[in-house]
């Protein structure tokens, strides 16, 4: 778990920077500030950064991205942040994206890899429709009114399995830290 460090934070920071660039850009463009076209650039750059950074942490396909990818991201973010530095409205976005670029550089230098954060056990196939449902009331079956639910202990021992229903886990029991 200690493996994923700076890159994850860089990802969050870059995503936040994207949003800040978009906001600053909208302010400059809508208010028609002087040289507002920098604001327009900022919106576009912000959207691009957000799209790039949005898939974070969860790698459903399990593909790994190598270290060089982080160098590319570091340089890309640094270059993207520069034009937004010309307007006060977008300069906060510049600063944030530059910081994200720095953290990506740190991650790249440290040789990090993008590994899935989901722990292995979750990939175990869930038992769904393949379960062979044992009969809950084997023959000879008593008449309907005698088929009452047994007491709690007897059910646990006699049934040897769940009282009814297929074995799916609708509510995953997660290890929530108290």
């Amino acid at each position: 778990m200690g493996q994923i460090e700076w890159a994850m934070w860089a990802n969050e920071q870059a995503l936040a920077s994207g949003l800040i660039l978009i906001t600053g850009g909208i302010v400059a463009t809508a208010g028609r500030f002087t040289q507002w076209y920098f604001g327009a650039y900022s919106i576009v750059a912000g959207v691009f950064v957000c799209l790039l950074e949005y898939p974070r942490g969860k790698r459903k396909k399990g593909s790994t991205m190598e270290r060089w990818n982080y160098y590319v991201r570091a340089v890309l973010h640094l270059l993207l942040s520069v034009p937004a530095g010309f307007l006060l409205a977008t300069i906060l976005g510049t600063a944030c994206l530059a910081i994200a670029s720095g953290i990506y550089l740190l991650a790249a230098v440290r040789g990090e890899q993008w590994t899935p954060i989901e722990p292995k056990p979750r990939e175990r196939p869930q038992i769904g429709g393949t379960i062979k449902q044992p009969p809950s009331n084997p023959p000879p079956r008593p008449p309907a009114e005698a088929r009452k639910k047994p007491s709690e202990e007897e059910a646990a021992v006699a049934a040897g399995g769940p009282p009814g229903g297929p074995q799916v886990n609708p509510i995953p029991v997660t290890d929530e830290v108290v």
Binding site: M1, G2, I4, E5, M8, W9, E12, Q13, L15, A16, I20, T23, G24, V27, A28, G31, F33, T34, Q35, F38, R56, G57, F86, L87, L88, A89, I91, L92, A95, C96, I99, I117, P121, R124, P125, I127, K149, S151, E152, E153, A155, A156, V157, G160, G161, P162, P163, G164, G165, Q167, N169, P170, I171, P172, V173, T174, D175, E176, V177, V178
Partner: protein, 538 residues
């Protein structure tokens, strides 16, 4: 044009952009005052203790301090955003007015302060046009510098506080969060330069705004309209935040003092599947069931405190925590305690430990019912270790005085491996109850919610053995999710006319299920069975 009689002079330029900046600033004052308070956990413990007269329900709200802290943090983020955006408009328009890129009225007002014996209204004094003008203001005015710096700090704090960062690399979260020191210092001096200007009282007395509003070209030339004088408003924020800052400083001092108190590790037990148990003693340590402590090990990390639920009962003469080895800090602790070595460790080799706490509202409510249902999901089973042990001690000491007569315990987990130690505890209780001929006191059900075909075959083969094949307990393990409706109905039929307490430590979804079941299985009249779901526990 803005009504300059009512607002500060600057609103002339900005047609409520200034008001739009000052409103969130006022909210920020309030929120920044509140944000420090929920994290003063020793202060909260003190409040909890001194409010013993109030009902438990009231005291339990103090347990939700972190939720409150996060809510206030989001409010600070929101108000900072509005404040910044409004001031961006403000600065743009003020600079434009200064470089004659605005309506004549604003331009004329901006020129106030150029001549001698005049005080300025527009804080943009140099005539630098946008966008350089705005940037220049941001780096030369104190409000500009502090504004940018503290907003950056706020953004860094927020991005490093997301759940994934907190879980996978706690240190980044913890150390970055300390940027709040810079945030508060910057916040206190943010308004010190007094660039938000208003007409002074003396000037208002001699300069009648209603009359002079239309005659700006004659100001200073006619008797009834001398040049108006302006002064900056004094900073107000420090008045809001100085109290909580002092309280937080006291809190850190208390934590430091407590951490200097001697804590002795009396026993270290390694349990299977990467769990260790630390048994410790500290002078004057008093705990109650269901509480937690913060632990620091300077050998592993000089600055980090980590929370752990107490797993020992108050009746024991030591206190213990069970630690799962999942990250850097816990691994470091594992090695520091010599758990990786096979041979016996001398007591003096054990590392120094600092303990802060105990915190949390005690779960005394468990003892006020005759019958209880305890439900623990996954790691949520940990506080129940303390409760079950305490119940056992009370039972052994004075069974007749104990109101609690029957416990139904439900343990839901994916697999029991991580909690072998808890299974051992249940085994111990099981054998002791058999000795006392009261095997029915505690009935527990373990549900393995994640299992596969091969395990199922294994269980089926060993079904008839006396002890359960997974846990070694006499009561068999069950698979899948419990059928809560059945459980509640069975218990209700066995204990008619009783109040049954339902306690949960687990995920929110399960809380909702149990809450609904409690309500639907309770009878409406005052007699009859009632399930009372204690939602705020743990």
């Amino acid at each position: 044009m803005g009504n300059w009689a009512v607002n500060e002079g600057l609103s002339i330029f900005v047609i409520s952009a200034l008001a739009l900046a000052r409103a969130p600033a006022a909210c920020l004052n309030f929120n920044c005052m509140l944000i420090l308070l929920p994290v003063c956990r020793n202060l909260l413990s003190f409040l909890r203790g001194s409010s013993a007269c109030c009902s438990t329900r009231v005291r339990r709200q103090l347990d939700r301090n972190l939720t409150f802290h996060k809510m206030v943090a989001w409010m600070i983020a929101l108000h900072s955003a509005i404040h910044t955006i409004a001031h961006l408009f403000n600065v743009e328009w003020c600079v434009n007015a200064r470089v004659n890129n605005s309506d004549p009225y604003s331009v004329a007002l901006s020129e106030l302060g150029d001549r001698q014996n005049e005080s300025y209204l527009n804080f943009a004094r140099k005539r630098i046009k946008n966008p350089e003008g705005g940037l220049y203001l941001a780096v030369t005015l104190l409000a500009g510098i502090t504004g940018v710096v503290i907003t950056l700090c706020l953004i860094l704090i927020i991005t490093s506080s997301t759940k994934t960062i907190r879980r996978s690399y706690f240190e980044v979260f913890w150390y970055t969060h300390h940027l709040f020191v810079i945030f508060f210092i910057g916040l206190a001096i943010h308004g010190a330069e007094r660039i938000v200007r208003g007409q002074t009282a003396e000037s208002l007395a001699v300069h009648n705004i209603t009359v002079c509003e239309q005659k700006i070209s004659e100001w200073g030339k006619i008797k009834e309209c001398p040049i108006p004088q302006f002064a900056g408003n004094p900073p107000m924020t420090w008045k809001w935040i100085v109290g909580p800052m002092f309280l937080y400083l006291c809190e850190r001092l208390v934590r430091f003092w407590r951490s200097q108190q001697k804590v002795v590790i009396t026993k270290v037990v390694t349990h299977p599947f990467k769990t260790i148990e630390l048994q410790m003693k500290k002078k004057g340590f008093k705990m109650e069931v269901g509480q937690y402590i913060f632990v620091k090990c300077p050998k592993v990390s000089k600055l980090e405190w980590h929370p752990f639920t107490l797993t020992s009962a108050p009746e024991e003469d030591f206190f213990s925590i069970h630690i799962r080895i999942v990250g850097d800090w816990t691994e470091g602790l594992f090695n520091a305690c010599g758990c990786d070595k096979q041979e016996f460790q001398d007591a003096w080799k054990l590392p120094k430990i600092a303990v802060d706490g105990p915190f949390g509202t005690a779960s005394e409510d468990v003892f006020s019912y005759e019958v209880v249902m305890l439900v623990g999901a996954g790691i949520g089973v940990t506080p129940f270790a303390s409760i079950l042990k305490s119940v056992w001690y009370k039972y052994c000491n004075n069974a007749t005085n104990l109101k609690l007569k029957k416990i139904y315990f439900y343990w839901l987990c994916r697999d029991t491996h991580a909690f072998e130690w808890f299974a051992d505890l249940l085994q111990l209780l099981e054998s002791q109850m058999q000795e006392r001929n009261n095997a029915g006191f505690l009935s527990y059900n373990i549900y393995l919610t994640g299992w596969d075909e091969s395990q199922a075959n294994h269980f089926a083969v060993h079904h008839d053995e006396e002890k359960d094949v997974i846990t070694g307990l006499k009561q068999k393990t069950l698979y899948g999710r419990p059928n809560w409706d059945n459980e509640f109905k069975t218990i209700a039929s066995q204990h008619p006319n009783t109040r049954i307490g339902v306690f949960l430590c687990g995920p929110e979804a399960l809380a909702e299920t149990l809450s609904k079941q409690s309500i639907s299985n309770s009878e409406s009249g005052p007699r009859g069975v009632h399930f009372i779901f204690n939602k705020e526990n743990f």
